[in-house]
Every structure is written in C-alpha cells, then in structure tokens.
Subunit: 334 residues, 2 copies
C-alpha cells in the first residue's frame, strides 16, 4: 500500500495509469492509494470544456495545449466525451493529430468511457482529478460532450467552465435546453470564419446583458473584463470568437482563462473550490457506504421481498414500501 501513491506524487506516468485503472475497475486498492494523495492536492487549475459534436472542440483543445505547453505548464486531460478523438472516437484524422501530444511528457491524457459508472460520471471524474492534481499538473482539462447532465454533474469539480458553440440556427436553443448556460464562465464561438456568428453573439450578450465587446477586439474585451472583475463580486461570462483550425483567437481565449483564474484567486474562490470538491467527495462516500450497507441487508431480507411482491401483485407503491423498510432497519441516534 502506498507504492502507487508515491509514484503518482513523483509524477510517474505508469503509477498514475495503474491507479486510474484501479479506479475504473472500482478496485478497493484504489481507495488506499487515494487516501494518501489528498494532502497533496488542491493546486491544479481545473477547466471544463464542453461543446456539441461538430463544434470543433477537440481542435480547440489541441491548440490550447500548445499554448499551455509553450508557457511551460503541465497539462492533464480527462476526456469523458465518446465522440472525442482523445477517447478514440471522432474521425481518424483527428485522432492522429492528437497523438503528437503523446510524445510530450508534460501532457497526460486519460479517456473515460461514459458508460456504466455507478452513481454517475462525476464520482470517477473527481477521483481522476485527484490523481492528476497529485501528479502536479498545472492545468487539468475535463472534456465533456455538451449534452447537459454530465456538465451539470461535474460543475462542482471544475474552476472554469468553457462552452464551445458554433454560429447558426439552433445553437441558442440547444444551449438553453442543455442547461449549460448558467454554468459557463467563458463562451467560445468557434469556426468564426465559416458561420454567421452575429446572432449567437448577440443572443449570448442579451442573455447576460454583457457589457463587454466580443473578443474580435481582444484588448477591449480584456479591459472590460478586468473592469467587471473589479466591479463585481462574481464573474461576467465572456465571449471569444475563435478559428481553432487556423489558430486564430485562441491566444485571447487563453488570456481570458487566466483572467478568470485570477478573479477566482482574488475572491478566494479558487481555494473555495477545493473545499466544495472535498465536501462533495465526503458526501458521496458516506452516501455510497450507507446505500451499499442497506442494499446488502435487503438482498436476502424477507420483509423486502414481501413488500416488493405486494407492490407488484397487490397494488402497493414503492413509497409506502420504502417507509416500512426504513422504520424496520434504521435507528438514527438522536
């Protein structure tokens, strides 16, 4: 016990990969190792990037990694999007292009299948963040598919949420429905050369009464944001236009990300995030433990079987049945 944790703390890639496999397989060894890592976490800047298929999100991430690396920051990527080239999805060309980063020791990529996590993707993502954080990654990028539930589930796990959109009919409605509007710190309108971006831009501005100008003029946007940071307790979502495939506008986006990080640090929210992640980790563990303990007991319990039979054959309901089970099995200390 502790061998893997020691490796992870030295940024050893093999140890990290093995621990991540334990986590995926819900191997109990993972817990013993994770326990030893927590004291060395809370340092990474965790960034969520989300966008529907076709938004060019992966190309954008590819360019962003180049920027982070050129300023000597180490990067971890957790891809929970089945269509991402990082997870092996999407088109062959993309996958090959992404592989250039696999020769860079400063970039660690972990893809997560989106299937079958007990209790949702947020639990396993939180553990992966802990591992990459303990490895000493400066930046952790969490890529998700932009369909709503995952983004909302993991919003307490990331400092900065970036939503990538493309211009054209339908986006506006999609982002509303996906419920990712209210969790965005930064909007990117990508493929700005190929689509009409004006409608989307003005929609976003109207929604947030954004005082900032679009990132077409980066300096103004920065100024406006700097103003809004100083002037407000919170953060006013900013909008950037990019052409990731042509490496246009990404430099301004990176500046925007650091501006958001600064804002979080100035307001104490950067560390507040670690408290909130720890709190949610603790509650998840408690909740899991409780449910498992109870379900194990119910497995062979005759009352449970009788209540389930009643439900199916005698017109009972699961609420009444659950109440009976709870009063039978539990004693909470007063």
């Amino acid at each position: 016990m502790g061998l893997l944790a020691n490796g992870v703390l030295k940024a050893d890639i093999k140890a990290a990969a093995k621990l991540m496999r334990y986590i995926e397989e819900e191997d109990t060894n993972a817990i013993d190792e994770l326990k030893l890592l927590y004291a060395n976490t809370g340092h990474s800047h965790v960034i969520g990037i989300t966008g529907l298929p076709g938004s060019g999100k992966s190309t954008l991430i590819d360019v962003m990694i180049d920027y982070f690396r050129s300023s000597k920051k180490t990067v971890g990527i957790i891809a929970v999007d089945p269509s991402s080239p990082f997870t092996g999805g999407s088109f062959l060309g993309d996958r090959i292009r992404m592989q250039k980063h696999s020769f860079d020791e400063g970039v660690f990529i972990k893809s997560l299948p989106t299937k079958g996590w007990r209790g949702g993707i947020s639990k396993v993502t939180s553990k992966m963040i802990t591992v990459m954080d303990a490895m000493g990654k400066d930046i952790i990028l969490v890529e998700t598919a932009g369909v709503g539930q995952t983004e909302v589930d993991i919003k307490n796990l990331v400092h900065t949420t970036i939503v990538v959109l493309v211009g054209g009919l339908g986006d506006y409605i999609q982002i509303i429905k996906a419920g990712i509007l209210e969790i965005a710190d930064i909007f990117v309108i990508n493929k700005a050369d190929k689509n009409n971006t004006e409608d989307l831009e003005s929609d976003l501005k109207n929604l947030f009464s954004l005082g900032t100008d679009s990132a077409k003029d980066g300096s103004e946007n920065d100024k406006a944001n700097a103003g809004s940071i100083k002037g407000r307790a919170g953060w006013k979502p900013s909008v950037y236009l990019t052409e990731a495939a042509n490496n246009k506008g990404v430099d301004k986006l990176i500046e925007g990300i650091f501006a958001h990080e600064n804002c979080l640090r100035l307001t104490g929210k950067f560390d507040g995030y670690f408290r909130s992640k720890s709190n949610s980790d603790m509650k998840e563990i408690i909740s899991d433990y409780l449910s498992n303990l109870l379900f194990e007991k119910l497995e062979n319990d005759s009352l449970y079987k009788k209540l389930l039979d009643d439900l199916i054959h005698n017109g009972s309901d699961p609420y009444t049945a659950a109440e009976k089970i709870l009063s039978q099995f539990l004693n909470f200390k007063k």
Copy 2:
C-alpha cells in the same frame, strides 16, 4: 390529494401535465399522487430510442408514431435529448413537422431538460413513465441523445432499446465507446440511401455473430429472428436498414419491435421488467431518504465541519473522514 391521480387514470392531459410539473419541481405533492398510480401501471410497452445527433432519430420517431397510431395504439413520448425537436432543439423544420402530432389526442409528448436532476435523469424518467403508464398509453417512447450515460442509467426502465446509427466512418467506434452496444435489442441503420451501410452492418454482425440477414430482405430477417426467439432464452439483436425520411423500412422495424415484445412476453420478461423497475424505484427512494436525513444532520454538525477543515488544512482525506462520520451517526440494527 388524489385529484390529479384520478385525472391521470382517466387519461386527462391537463392533470398529467400538472403532475409532471410537480415531479419536475420536486414538489412533495407529486409523491402523494404517484403513490395512487402505481397499482395501475405495468401495462405499457416502454421503448428507448437513442442515437447521436445527425442519425435522423427524430424523423424516424415521427414516422414510427404514424405507424403506431394507424394501428390505434396510444403513444407517450419522453424526450431527454437536448437536440431533439420534441424538446425544442434541433432545426426549426423538424420542430414544425413534429407539431402535427400535437393535434392528436392519442399522442402525449413530454420533454425533459437534461439538466440538474438530483441523482441523475433516471429517477425523473422513471416517474414520468409511471404517469404515462397510468394514463393507459400502449407505447411509451423514451428518446435519449446516445452519448452513453443516460442510456445505461435508464436501461432498467425500458423493455426494448433501439439504437439508431448511420453508415460511415466513426460510428462503429462511437457506439463502442458510448457503451450502448450491449444494451441494444434492435439496431437501425438509418439514411440507408445516403451513406455506405455495409461496413457498419458487417461490424454489427461480427460483434454479435448475428445469424440474421439484414432487414433489406424483411421477410428473411423476421424468419431468422423468429427462429432465434424460439431457439434461445434471450434475444439476438436485430439490424434494420431504414430511410425514415422516405418512409422506407420503418414497417419492418415496427414488426421487429412487436417481435421483441412478443419474445419478452413469452419468456416472462415483460412483467419481469415491472418488478425490476419497482425494485429500482424502491431502492432509489430508500437511498434518497437515507442520504437526505444524514445530510440534514451534517449541515450543522460540528464534527463534520471539523473533519472538513482537517481535510483542507491538515492533510486528512475524505475516506477517513467519512468513516468517522458514519461510526458517529449511525446504528444499524443487527
């Protein structure tokens, strides 16, 4: 209490809509009404339909509804896909086309935002199914976005899972990664006129060692499936080629759906589904109740606060903290 439930049992649309709103808002009134509905559920054939954006899934559902209606079956639709025209997403033309069904009393459409459901989308979907089932809907279609987690979460809530794909590079990898392969009862390769379907078809066949021929020749497929139903305890996933936009192949797909329903009824699995749904409903309720009760206690608990502080400042970890909390707060009866 019970007014809404009475309305729902008479298939009253206003009562159903109001109860569904209560469910969405987690209004406690919903529970009292739901309790009264359970005894009248377990009759609908619940069908999950999933597919990535661009698979033509919504057009397919549109045509399927026509078929179900022409055989006098009533239909409920629960759309949990943010890009679905049923939820207001996708392109304007689609939305307008779908509205034709809104004048049909036999079709009830409920769209669910994919955001912010405590404990995931499956819990609220299960309740919506209960309401539509109690309304007496013959068929309940649950439309999801095809990215993995939601489909796996709700697999215990549906009798028949249909995965819609289109031919072309990348699909194969996407379905593998999304983890929806193993939950599919029926595969549809849509837009068969526009894309090369052969690779995808042969991939699917190889994966399942499907003995059946593709639905290009519907009669053979039916025969083969009938054989596989009789010959096996389980079900061999079938593959159908469709051009939903031109109403081609959907008739055979509908036959395939009924064949699967028959198989489930013959093997007792149709009712087994209701037992499994009831079981999972009961466990969800028990688990929620437990967690809420405990978290309420923890809210103002000084030990919890101290442990959280230790975690953040003194290098503790959430597992050790959780263990201390559990031993402090709980007494399970032996």
